[in-house]
Symmetry: C2
Subunit: 140 residues, 2 copies
Amino acid sequence: MTAPAWALAFLREARVGRLATADAAGRPLVVPVCFAFDEDVLYSAVDDKPKRTRELRRLRNVVENPMGSLVVDEWSEDWSRLRWVMVDGSADVLRTGADFGRAIDLLREKYPQYRTMDLRTDGAVLRLRAERIRAWRASD
Amino acid sequence: MTAPAWALAFLREARVGRLATADAAGRPLVVPVCFAFDEDVLYSAVDDKPKRTRELRRLRNVVENPMGSLVVDEWSEDWSRLRWVMVDGSADVLRTGADFGRAIDLLREKYPQYRTMDLRTDGAVLRLRAERIRAWRASD
């Protein structure tokens, strides 16, 4: 995946991203997510933060329509400091297995908040495999 | 539109939202946007901040597939302070007319940064008419 070094660092370090999925009819949904970026893959967990019924919509979307888009961006009232990185790719849901376990480990490493939460029992990880990364900053 | 007062205030005051659209094939795209919320309608302008070619994709999406989703959220390392508001609705593109002018006026009122930019010549406004507003906060 070709992307500027600053963009890859931003994907690794950003604390929150916004993930878009869409259902079979193409109706989009965007949700804030905690995520871990590992090589060309982004993992986010379904946890107990928001209401359970709400959470499931993104998972249902990905089963119906395996495409996803995630953005991380930095807001500033000084628009010469704006920047964003967008990742488009294919998405799926993991519930067991080595990649599921690795995702949970990476998320707990990045977010201490996850360390006391049970993410494995009835847990789900949304995996987004990057096919395209686009980056922009106003100061370039 | 029924939504808690705090959620409507958040939509009015949030400085940045993230907007998801999808193309005719259902491929989602999410972008950060400045926006103005007026009654049940959200307006965002296409301006010169990001690259032009990138900007056009969201407009093309909306022409192909008139559905959109926008989220505003507040991030905190203290997850008891998290909150978000999601707006789903129908989207279209305005390039002239009274609603286009009103959108530009509202955006300039909210964002001083827009006051010195020409948003009218070859300008475009993406309008999202809210059909559903969902709000969540951890502290409820």
